[in-house]
Symmetry: none
Subunit: 185 residues, 4 copies
DNA sequence: AATGAATGAGACTTCATTCAT
DNA sequence: AATGAATGAAGTCTCATTCAT
């Protein structure tokens, strides 16, 4: 079962057949997988849930610790990039799953809606400037995924990860900053 | 043959089997496809090339017409979003191909390198601020793809496309802007 | 165990897998079925026996009450059709079992031999005319099953069942009647 | 393709898997069967059609040659039994297919409707007596199948087949004969 | 250039059965 | 008496590829 995640991380969504997963799990046949899960979708959904629990445990405290919309955006981005150092396989698998589940997945849509809402409330609070919250959410979640996926493909030192996270957060913070006046919140 | 592009656009990379393509092309057998192309990779590579020609014809003039690093970045982004209105099927197909080809594809790497180089030279010229060119290139190309893919899935009015393009370009321009002083170049 | 009969009646012999039966029986595993029965054949044979007891309890008294070969033939046919009104599920299941067990089953061969013997002794007693007892037995038992199966698929009113039974019995009685002379026995 | 019919005849509907058919046809894999037929249902439907052509070629002339409702009924029954001598495998296969297709099949319902209609028009013409046409049709088609199936399981001499056919036809003719008066038509 | 048939591998799923607990 | 996990086989189906015609 963790085998499924491992296989997706190693071989990718496309190659993650029941055979491969069964072999990785030390099972002698694919029958057991069908026995435990209603179908491939069910298995993959279970994997997503499992991974989200793991990643949430790592990221959520750091996000919650941040105060203010801008700081939270930065915390999210940096935590997500740092996550690669802790759970590279899970990250690889999740991003592959997200990529191939497309817009059907709750995982994608949930995060997208979260970002959009965060931008909107932040704009109302004066923490962010004027921009299309939806476009920003779309672009930044996907961009974040790409950076994370690249990092996960060949995991760098923690320091390098931290630097990348900071860089990326800088970009997003700058892109969403209020126009002219000084600080806010 | 254009059929392949159409099928990928409609059914997606995963479902784009030789059978499906042959049927869409009016061929009664998949043999012809294997006859013309060395294999599936070859066919897909040919599709990428074909689509890039089409999209290049639309985008390149607009990019070339822009003067200065910032304007070119904006031109690229806006042209790419507007492209959805002109060639939605090709855009859908190309993005699906890119997504599934991963980092093996020249198309991805080429564009990535192009962006990175553009950022670097722009920084040297003072057009852009200080940031990690590679991280920005990764994040922005993928973010752009996501916005474009979403637009292509349900093509909006040209005016709306233009607005989205402008919004996205604004974000990227702001994220990469020089720190304090006014204009440059 | 009654669950097996119910499942066969509802889903048919083909779909009556251990899983389905276990689920219908409120069992969480198929293991128990294998524990109680030597194999699938054993289970099905047990079902046949069980059903035959139930149907026998309904039919036998009516057959025994009839006097004379002709009356007994009529009683058997009519009782069998009326049985549908009392135990539709059991009837459905039994017929499905008979159909799929083919000529291996004792149930089929027993009834066939019974009919054949009944015709032969009836012919000797002058109750029936001249005809091939075996052919008649074969044709009439199967014909009876077909009528019963059709009735069991969509159970009609008791009155309608009685009518069908009478009609069918009429046909069989007429087909087996002595040539010219009047009554017999 | 004829292989499918042969396998059904030999091993029965239940065991007629693609593997078995492929092996019998000299094919190295089951892929070809799926290539030619949309699915199992499609293949079986094709078999039914094929067999019906063969049997129709044998039976139809003999039925058409008969004059009057009674003679046609007799001709149908006798031709069907004699058919076993000519095409035992096809007969075995068709009956197995009919048995397992149940009431979904056009083959079953078509013949049933044919018999029912024949009885009804014959009754109107005075060729048959008073009885429920539907019940008779159901019983006699199934009874005929049973006799034919038994004969096909262990094909007897042509003379014996002819005798069985005559016996069965006698039964059905007698069962459906007009009440008292002499000949008709 | 095109067809139609064939191949071999692999996909997901279901089944009857076994067994330790 | 019951559970839950495992097995191994078989089932239908799809795929990319090959090849004679």
């Amino acid at each position: 079962m963790r085998a499924a995640i491992a296989v997706i991380a190693e071989a990718g969504y496309l190659k993650a057949s029941f055979s491969r997963i069964a072999k990785h799990a030390g099972l002698s046949s694919t029958g057991m997988i069908s026995y435990h899960f209603a179908g491939k979708d069910d298995l993959l959904a279970a994997c997503v849930t499992e991974i989200e629990e793991i990643t949430g445990a790592f990221m959520q405290p750091r996000i919650d610790a941040a105060v203010g919309h801008v700081a939270q955006l930065r915390a999210y981005v940096e935590a997500n990039v740092d996550l690669v150092g802790e759970h590279p396989a899970e990250v690889r698998a999740l991003i592959d799953l997200i990529k191939n589940a497309g817009s059907r997945s709750d995982a994608v849509n949930g995060r997208l809606a979260l970002f959009e809402e965060h931008f909107r409330t932040g704009q109302a609070a004066g923490a962010f400037g004027t921009f299309d919250a939806r476009t920003a959410a779309l672009s930044f979640t996907s961009g974040l995924d790409a950076v994370v996926a690249t990092a996960a493909a060949d995991v760098p030192e923690p320091a390098e990860l931290a630097r990348i996270g900071r860089e990326l957060a800088d970009l997003y913070v700058r892109a969403t900053a209020p126009e002219s006046t000084g600080e806010s919140e």
